[in-house]
């Protein structure tokens, strides 16, 4: 299992467009990728649940990656967040 935290810098938070891209990115990996904020969590392949977390600018999300390609997936998702959120 790999875990890291990330602070959202996008002014609107996890909004529709990057959430859509995130789902697409996450689906490319075998591992299960979980986003968590304030005790609520959502799978990274689930668009509505992700948006439903209500993640805003300045919020910290905890990302947990579990599965066969967790190294690669964790690095990939972290890079995605830096590039898009």
């Amino acid at each position: 299992m790999k875990q890291f935290t990330y602070v959202i810098t996008d002014p609107v938070g996890i909004h529709a467009r990057p959430a859509g891209l995130l789902v697409r990115t996450a689906k490319a990996y075998e591992s299960e990728i979980l986003f968590e904020k304030d005790g609520k969590s959502a799978g990274a392949t689930k668009l509505m649940a992700l948006m439903g977390l209500g993640v805003r600018c300045g919020d910290t999300v905890t990302v947990t990656v579990t599965g066969s390609d967790e190294e690669k997936a964790s690095a990939g998702i972290e890079q995605f967040l830096k590039d898009n959120l």
């Binding site: 609107v12 938070g13 467009r17 859509g20 697409r24 689930k46 668009l47 509505m48 948006m51 439903g52």
Partner: protein, 556 residues
């Protein structure tokens, strides 16, 4: 004539017939089904068809509104494929042995509610997207064709609310404007309307009904959110004039957006905007200003009942700096006094306020006020490209004292670990003849000059600019004023700093060539004057330079 007030969602003016667009939102009935498997397959087929429709809409939107605007349909596709959404539909069909329509309607409502209950405007707006995809599924399930507007001539499309897919499906050549009773400025429909350049007003309220207004003539002003039913002649004329101005600006924008203010032979001059309130930022961006050359900080003091706190000021400056996203913002420190009075300052009444306790003189006398403002400005500098400018300087010692206070503020912030930009440019307004005459010495103290031509003219010619009777004596083209401007720019350049003009004269296109000949580096004007000025600059070259320099002092 009757007028309704909504929120302006997309600027522009339109006059035409109101045509109400009806959704015919059918009630979905709950039916028990025998063959659950067949019902699941019906849903599967409808989902595929809906995704296919969205793919086509995406292609259509791509050509109409480009990648950014079209993305919403990709998002809708992904929402339709969302595991949770589809699981919910399937589970309702399976567990309750009911029809797919019912399962879709219930799921759509639940998910829309999840978004509308969120404590965030943007997310609340997403409820409309969930409803939109659910309605699409329902239409497919019920074998309906999606309805398009049918009108012989262009109309103002009116509705309770419009879904993004409806907005794009409408035949653009038949739409003069959008007007809706509900909706939010953040909705995709509002965004699409802006991208398509179609005026739109939303949130006109429940009173905006087909029963009352369908088929009536209306005029809308998408900038102010005003809708007039059966507008009278004057209103129509005023709006048409506004439309003509907008069209002119649009022409300038298409031609000049993103282009530098540069003469034909390559002399570069920055075209900035003057503003007095964060609410003017929209105009700054809409007119493609390269920066803000004068941000009058008085609004914070004029709008409040007591001295604005450091934090209040910091938040306001920060949002301006952030919005300008790295473009230079020159904040002018407090310029109260003279014609701008604030009660809680308790300034004694003066015989001659224009020459009295004002601007930097207040700041240096009551340093706690100044100190608070400087702290707020330096803190905001961590969020953009902030420059600070001091008004009404007449002597070298004044700016030296100002710089000491600024250094003290920086030291305090450093000591308490508060981030700020170490390289904030400090400049002064040149608006007293004394400052212009001393510009060679003053230039050694600061990073830039900005010439305030209104006060400079009044002090140089000793003519009160607020006295209407003195009109013909108040001459901003006075050769003495022009000479002080030239001298100031020359002394700035001699000392390696830049000089701009932020007074009204900057927008006087009959002087643009003269200012270029003087070597002025920046002109800051009202937002609406930025593009006309840029157009003027781009039409000039320096071939007349010598002739102008020989001639500007001529007595008229």
């Amino acid at each position: 004539m009757k007028s309704l007030q909504g929120s302006g969602a997309s600027g522009g003016v339109a006059i035409g017939t109101l045509k109400f667009y009806r959704h015919d939102r059918q009630l979905v009935s709950r039916r028990r089904v025998e063959d659950v498997q067949a019902e699941l397959e019906r849903f599967q087929t409808a989902q595929a068809a809906a995704i296919d429709q969205l793919g086509k809409l995406y292609e259509k939107a791509l050509t109409q509104v480009g990648e950014q605007g079209a993305q919403i349909f990709e998002i809708h596709q992904m929402m339709l494929e969302d595991d949770d959404y589809c699981d919910s539909i399937r589970s309702i069909i399976e567990r309750q042995s009911v029809n797919a329509e019912y399962a879709v309607a219930i799921t759509g409502e639940n998910f829309a509610k999840m978004f509308s209950d969120m404590d965030d405007d943007y997310m609340q707006g997403r409820a409309a997207d969930v409803k939109d995809i659910s309605e699409r599924l329902l239409r497919v399930l019920e074998g309906e064709q999606s309805d398009a507007i049918d009108a012989d001539q262009p109309v103002i499309v009116a509705a309770d609310d419009l879904a993004p897919s409806e907005t794009v499906q409408l035949d653009k050549s038949k739409i003069l404007a959008f007007a809706t009773a509900g909706g939010s400025v953040n909705s995709h429909t509002a965004i699409l309307a802006r991208t398509m350049g179609i005026p739109a007003i939303i949130g006109l309220g429940p009173e905006f009904q087909a029963e009352l207004y369908d088929g009536k003539t209306a005029a809308i002003d998408g900038a102010t959110g005003q809708l007039y039913i059966e507008p009278d002649k004057e209103t129509q004329a005023a709006l048409l004039e506004k439309q003509a101005k907008l069209a002119e600006r649009k022409r300038l924008l298409t031609q000049l957006k993103g282009l530098p203010g540069e003469t034909q032979d390559g002399q570069r001059i920055l075209t900035y905007a003057n503003i007095g309130n964060p609410s003017d930022l929209g105009a700054v961006l809409a007119n493609d200003a390269e920066g803000i050359g004068l941000f009058r900080s008085e609004f914070l003091y004029l709008e409040s009942q007591d001295y604005p706190s450091e934090n209040e000021q910091f938040q306001a400056y920060k949002s301006v700096a952030e919005t300008m996203a790295g473009k230079r913002v020159i904040f002018r420190t407090l310029d109260i006094g003279a014609d701008k009075q604030v009660d809680y300052f308790h300034l004694p009444k003066e015989e001659n306020p224009a020459m009295g306790m004002r601007a930097i003189r207040i700041c240096l006398t009551r340093q706690e006020i100044f100190h608070t403002q400087l702290r707020a400005l330096y803190r905001a500098s961590a969020y953009g490209r902030v420059a600070i400018m001091f008004p009404m300087i007449a002597s070298v010692w004044e700016i030296q004292e100002v710089k000491k206070i600024a250094a003290q503020v920086r030291a305090e912030l450093t000591a308490s670990g508060v981030p700020f930009d170490e390289h904030v440019e400090l400049g002064i307004m040149i608006e007293t003849p004394a400052a212009a005459v001393l510009s060679n010495q003053l230039a050694k103290e600061v990073d830039f000059f900005s010439i305030g031509t209104n006060d400079l003219t009044q002090y140089t010619t000793a003519v009160d600019r607020q006295n209407q009777d003195l009109g013909r004596f108040y001459d901003p083209h006075h050769p003495a004023v022009l000479e002080l401007i030239r001298l100031t720019v020359e002394n700035a350049h001699r000392n390696g700093i830049w000089a701009g003009i932020c007074g009204e004269l900057g927008a006087d296109l009959s002087l643009t060539e003269t200012f270029l000949a003087f070597g002025v580096d920046e002109l800051s004007v009202a937002p609406a004057s930025v593009l006309p000025l840029r157009e003027k600059i781009r039409s000039l070259n320096q071939s007349n330079r010598q002739a102008i320099l020989d001639r500007y002092l001529e007595v008229r």
